[in-house]
Symmetry: D2
Subunit: 356 residues, 4 copies
């Protein structure tokens, strides 16, 4: 068990800092014989890559992943898959200004307090750069999942502007820079984000990840609940402050008869008349869409000056310049999808182990 | 690693079904030399016990816990602590009516689909009865935590009726049957709950758990984040559909300058001017109150008839009578406190291991 | 992960002290639908039970196991199986004499040094009584293994008297009090053991455990090697000081051409012309018999006085009376078989998870 | 939990194949603030490196390790340490001859049977090349251990030639190519090994690893026993077939009064009059030297032709040429030391967690 590993049987261990020579991960437990090469993984990384629009950080990272082990002649061998991405566009000097100050909303203060020292360059280990390896691991996880399982994410709220669900179009998510399924609201979001950037601030978001085609039976009764593991997975993403499944917090305001999804036989199969459960009952998948949402706080690296203290214990102010995403929630979409894929792949292997 | 265990170093493994002879748990990793006996644990169990007011199930369970190992002459020995509670008021015949029907909102269908068979009596393993052992384990966890750490829970929303935060009084939580910190709203809740029961329905709730006195430095950078583990802990409680930390989902609607808690030196110590972070930055505790909330869906066992299917694949209806909590959120309060205690104790031991 | 758990997917967690009210365990990860009741487990416990001949301790423990959870209508449900045995013949006063002295060869001194206190009655947690739960768990593990897999143990050396392998008869192991496969040497052993007891001493032994019918492919390449896990499993049994697989230490004295088991096709199947590997190559089972041996030191509780020190730091002598096995190796046979069963069951589930 | 990870809190995960682009590992759980750089690790790797004498493989690998993360300005940061060694002298064509044949004594057959495919080049994942990363991790582990703890290894038997213990000199181990502590027998070993090589065969060995200065109290009562973890650690090294602690298999032939190490106070401290226990009682260190031995089988890659079968199921013969160690036991010495260091470092952190 390790603080930098995730999953029980499909197990991902990441390493690397924002401004070190490279970041990487080890993916253990992958079944043998699956087709895998860099070309399969790269598009998922490209989706998360910075600099794809003016709404994300301008750090230029090609994020070319290399497979260093565990694949032979284009197939997984069942041994650990070593992945690495070299860091390229590292401007550590951007950070010397903040070396001796704790940035509010960042891990600077807590890292220093915990470890007694910290790699301050680009946030070190706490940089969202680590999530590139999650995306790579998620691409491998997708190979384990049957092709019937489709995992898709979307931003459903930016600031306090929510999408209108009746306008939902998955196709639309690829057509705007926000993974927004609502063409109309995405225009408003552009203005919103431009305004935030202009005043040196930032903005939060809510992301929804949906897995379709998940078979009934994944998960476990008590601590190994599918939703408990999704909650940990999403909450472990940088800047996430909340996670919900199905009706989520809204379920608290429903009555028992509204909330419990009724069931009916249809063409010889069990079906549900609604999906407040978000595809999970008693910690186990129902066969409906698994629906999860997570809230991402606004980027803490902002130009607008904030009160803070120095490592030496003096009051001061800080204005974080560097190159930052005005809304980290946008690039969290492929990360959320990847975490969903990893959790499902792990649960699938565990289910196969116990139930054959 | 096991689907019925929780925690890395302070490790709780529970067993038992609602209508079996007993439920129990093994608590491993407890430091030696701590004062412990049944009398310390029992009051926490009593707080969760059914039948304390007309707003909880009328099942009569004294829930007397026995310590079977790991304690010698009133002190923990460092070896595993075996705990057991015998089930008493078991009326399995209440359940024969539902033996062949899947109750909507329950795990009946998913268990059957996963395992091919299920102990249908009282929900078997998926019964909230399992949470009694969490509460017992949480009582042990509190022994590990310094006495400066105070963990308290409250119901902050019932149905769509929220508390008014300016009226918050911890003392009040002990004076009404809802752990409600707002004396005024608790009166409304009585009416709300009575109405729900009368029409054979049920109601959801939001619980807030606050840990004060937590030292800075608990948690870990990436997958071992304190908030990620709290998320898993709370989401693993029966009927929970959402978890949030600090400003939570509300953080999505804040701007970066509103959200990032500013810092100031005060009497030589680092302080924060707000607590949107909920006491956790970068997965590590800040020293402020750790504040978490979770949403509990309305009880799925309701008298009002619902559409469902039989195990044999026929459409039918079901009306669940038995003895059920009209709002399971109420009794989730001591459970939430216990999970907070378990997570903090585990993280404390892990911190001590790595950072001395 | 826990110091009192064993196995990854088939996971056994034991609790309990020699002179506490009970001992027990939780077996998690068992596949659902397997036939299981107390009657299946009890014979394995009876084989380990004390007092079956004059060559084992005279403590009278019926060792009646109760299944408290995880089984419904005679079938496993897939949820954790709680097992318990109540301690009966506890004579704690036997131990007050040794309360303040460290018995040489026992864990008394190290426990005290580690934990600062210890339950001195009957060795507390370090008593071999804990192994009863391993035997019970092993009985469940056998249910998971195909009936083609046969696990049998034998004592192959007592003191310095080895068996003659050409006289090996499995049937004979049931006919003498030593699980000895060599009828001739078992007579010598009787004399040997009687003499040891008479002079207030004790004697060591080597146990061999053989699993036949194990399919090729169980195990894993590096740290999850089948032999590495067997080594941990056997070494974790009380009083064990050595473990070997196949030719074991003898392999060091072989040349490369003698040691490497040659292969031949036979009836369309791969066969080996010898089994120096003990059924494991590169950490993975070959399909041949898995053959392991472990050495058990002589019982440390002996009447003959030995030099020791008191908990207060004075030199003294100790003569351990109580009721003790003159050769703990004998009762280690069913325990060794159980550990083999647990390791194989766990590896089988892990193999199924990864390789389908 | 992962088949390619080792340790609970000081956790090592390795990846890489013999003929892939690189091998590497992730070391998680290292305390922060420890001095660490490549220069500290490299000498340990050099000790294991091939080609240092005519008695090891002539493959030329500089084995230059790179630290890719977890270290900042010469100090560990508490985040995962990524290590990598690029493979250089890869002659995969040496292996095309054996692509379709299973080498007796190797993992070829079992890998193929388990995974359905294998990277046959140089043994792929089952190559002893993986042990380079253990050595690197062991170097980090030594940083965690107090400088009072000294870990040293020696070859104590080659073929059937044992050392004479009365001639033991640690200094001598550095003066011959065998890590042999007995100057006289090392001369015999030269002849022995030259003869084995000449006739195209190989030879086995027994290695002893001794840790001095280990404090009393490391380890745990039951499954987390220090000796159980050492057994797994050593047995997981390639080609190891047996492990013993202290008197080991010899303990079986001792009487209880000979075996149990007597105790005496000396200068106010508890001392032992002998060390049959090998420094471990009840799974917990006694403060005496921790003494372990493991047996390494003769190299399976030999020139002398052996009967085997093809992947297609035909009988054939094989003569393994390539570049191989005539006695893999020699290079296992630094690996054994490293595993001892890793186990002790992990247990030290666990002890600190539980007992402060």
């Amino acid at each position: 068990m390790s603080d930098n590993s995730f999953g029980m049987l499909f197990r991902v261990t990441t390493w690397g800092e924002s401004h070190g020579p490279a970041i990487g991960c080890v993916v253990d437990g992958t079944p043998p014989g699956l087709a895998l090469d860099e070309a399969w993984i790269q598009p998922f990384l490209d989706a998360r890559r910075p600099g794809r629009s003016r709404f994300t950080t301008q750090r230029k990272e090609p994020d070319r992943v290399r497979i260093l082990s565990g694949v032979f002649e284009g197939r997984t061998t069942g041994t650990p898959i070593g992945l690495m991405i070299e860091n390229q566009d590292v401007r550590s000097k951007d950070y010397t200004a903040i070396k001796d100050k704790f940035r509010p909303g960042h891990a600077d203060y807590t890292y220093r307090a915990k470890y007694g020292l910290r790699d301050y360059r680009g946030g070190g280990r706490s940089s969202a750069r680590e999530t590139a390896m999650r995306v790579a691991a998620g691409a491998i996880a997708r190979r384990i999942l049957s092709q019937r399982i489709k995992i898709r994410g979307a931003v459903v709220q930016m600031g306090d502007h929510e999408i209108t669900r009746s306008r939902w179009s998955w196709a639309e998510t690829a057509r705007n820079p926000f993974w927004c399924p609502d063409a109309k609201v995405s225009v408003e979001w552009e203005a919103l984000l431009d305004a935030a950037r202009k005043r040196g601030s930032s903005i939060g978001a809510v992301i929804e990840v949906v897995a379709s085609g998940v078979p009934v039976g994944l998960g476990a009764p008590v601590y190994g609940k599918l939703d408990a593991e999704l909650a940990a997975a999403f909450m472990s993403i940088n800047a996430v402050k909340g996670v919900e499944i199905g009706a989520g917090f809204g379920a608290a305001a429903l009555s028992g008869n509204e909330n419990a999804d009724e069931m009916r036989m249809k063409m010889g199969k069990v079906t549900f008349l609604s999906n407040n459960a978000g595809g999970i009952l008693g910690g186990i998948s129902t066969g409906q869409d698994v629906v999860a949402r997570f809230a991402v706080k606004p980027t803490s690296s902002i130009v607008e000056p904030r009160k803070t203290v120095t490592t030496g214990g003096r009051n001061t102010e800080i204005s974080t310049k560097g190159r930052h995403d005005p809304c980290v929630g946008i690039r969290a979409v492929p990360v959320g999808e990847a975490m969903m894929a990893c959790v499902l792949a792990d649960q699938l292997l565990r289910h196969r182990a116990q139930c054959g």
